[in-house]
């Protein structure tokens, strides 16, 4: 079973040379730490920066240079700043190659819910609805089950949707799954996790074809 860093590490393998990547808050942010050194990737943040670098050294933080999580950041050579409309032109116009974001629920049709629990948590969708409505390549990073142990990979989402039929891949603490017309296709198991454990933790239709390899991390 993977921890959050393990999920990030596995997702980092999906990042290819020349990709512009938007990372959501939470586990997705950790992905930047595990991207291979021998490929060129640029990170975009929807508040208006392309070419994000690591966090600043203590004392060098700048209130005017933050990411969408409001964290102080730095920029790398070749970076640029721009306004919000331009930022979403990059996203809506499909210039960003890969979007990695967290979710509360994903359905077997690729629907995603991650912005609202009615009557309980209403923080808002931020840029998530724009991202999932436009991105060609969306990977969800999340735990396979919620704190109560219930599956987050469902036949249908029960929470208000963020986007419809948009998720392509899900990486959880238990597995890597691809969204196909027939449901969640199991691609890989997390180290030490059995197919049976994944089946038990998945409410949506799970497709198991042949031998399911363990992740190579």
């Amino acid at each position: 079973m993977l921890d959050k860093n393990g999920i990030a590490k596995r997702i980092a393998k999906e990042v290819q040379d020349g990709y512009y990547v938007n990372l959501g808050i939470g586990i997705p942010t950790l992905v930047a730490n595990y991207v291979r050194d021998d490929i060129e990737v640029e990170f975009q943040s929807e508040n208006g920066v392309l070419g994000m670098g690591p966090f600043p050294f203590d004392g060098e933080e700048d209130a005017d240079i933050i990411n969408a999580g409001k964290q102080t950041i730095t920029t790398l050579p070749g970076a640029s700043f721009f306004d919000s409309a331009t930022s979403f032109s990059m996203i809506r116009g499909q210039h960003v190659d890969l979007t990695i974001l967290g979710a509360m629920e994903v359905s077997q049709d690729g629907d995603i819910a991650n912005w609202k629990i009615p009557g309980k948590m209403v923080k808002g969708m931020g840029g998530a609805m724009d991202l999932v409505a436009s991105a060609e390549n969306i990977i969800v990073a999340m735990m396979h089950t919620n704190r109560a142990g219930a599956s987050k990979l469902l036949k249908q989402c029960s929470l208000p949707l963020t986007g419809v039929a948009c998720v392509k891949k899900v990486v959880t603490n238990l597995a890597v799954l691809e969204i196909t017309p027939k449901g969640f296709k199991l691609l890989e198991r997390a180290p030490g996790v059995s197919v049976k454990e994944i089946q038990e933790a998945t409410e949506g239709n799970l497709i198991i074809e042949g031998d399911i390899p363990e992740m190579d991390l």
């Binding site: 508040n47 700043f81 979403f88």
Partner: protein, 233 residues
């Protein structure tokens, strides 16, 4: 050169009254019009409808207007990090319209650029699109979203000149340029009001034509919401 310069925040906010609709630049606490917000607290105008990506924190930014119960309605994309906001929203004192961030930016730009409405894919199939017109183009579904209508836009820039030309810094730019000229009156505060002619005409982020009034701001706190650093080896 047409001068937009006014002496201070008091003069810049002339005409502000109860029940108006305001736009506020800023993302989180970065690039927010601190001086205008401070003056609105003093003026204690009520019944405001505010368009702003976020709602500040309890004791800073738009949180200050919420503390004074000056806001009736917020249109935002993300309103976490604010307990008073949540309390007012759940109790029904505050009306909240949550919309996608890119939609927020583009509804500002539409108002600025004279477009009545836009078609965006964001929110299609979600409750955000409920009751809204939708339409298919090339096999993809889009939601019709209207240009904002606002009385004042409050914008914060880094540098500006009396002609109203603006330069922003880093990610403090965010929604600020998109809101210039998107309301009936655009009030800009700058960290540094520079002499006309010192800004490179090639590198002005927003030309002065989109600005109604500009003033030299004072004592910026520029609070950091999430101070995240790494240690030196």
């Amino acid at each position: 050169m047409i001068s937009k310069k006014v002496a201070n925040v008091q003069e810049a906010l002339k005409g502000v009254t109860d029940n108006m609709t305001f736009m506020f630049g800023g993302f989180g606490l970065s690039g927010i019009p601190e001086n205008a917000i401070g003056e609105l607290v003093k003026l204690n105008v009520k019944g405001l409808k505010c368009i702003s990506n976020n709602a500040g924190v309890d004791d800073f930014g738009l949180g200050l207007l919420l503390q004074g119960k000056q806001i009736d309605k917020m249109t935002s994309s993300y309103v976490g990090e604010n307990d008073e906001f949540e309390r007012q929203m759940l109790s029904g004192e505050l009306e909240v319209e949550l919309i996608p961030q890119g939609t927020l930016a583009e509804r500002c730009r539409a108002a600025q650029a004279g477009f009545p409405a836009i078609y965006t894919p964001a929110g299609y199939g979600t409750e955000v699109a409920e009751g809204k017109e939708t339409r298919e183009f090339d096999g993809k579904m889009y939601v019709l979203e209207y240009a904002f209508k606002a009385d004042f836009a409050f914008v914060k820039a880094w540098k500006g000149d009396a002609a109203g030309n603006l330069v922003f810094k880093g990610t403090a730019r965010n929604f600020n340029p998109n809101m210039c000229g998107a309301a009936k009156i655009t009030v800009v505060e700058v960290e540094e009001l520079v002499p006309v002619g010192t800004l490179d005409p090639n590198h002005i982020h927003m030309p002065g034509i989109f600005v109604t009034r500009i003033f030299q701001g004072e004592t910026y706190e520029k609070r950091i919401e999430q101070r995240t650093v790494r240690q030196r080896d």
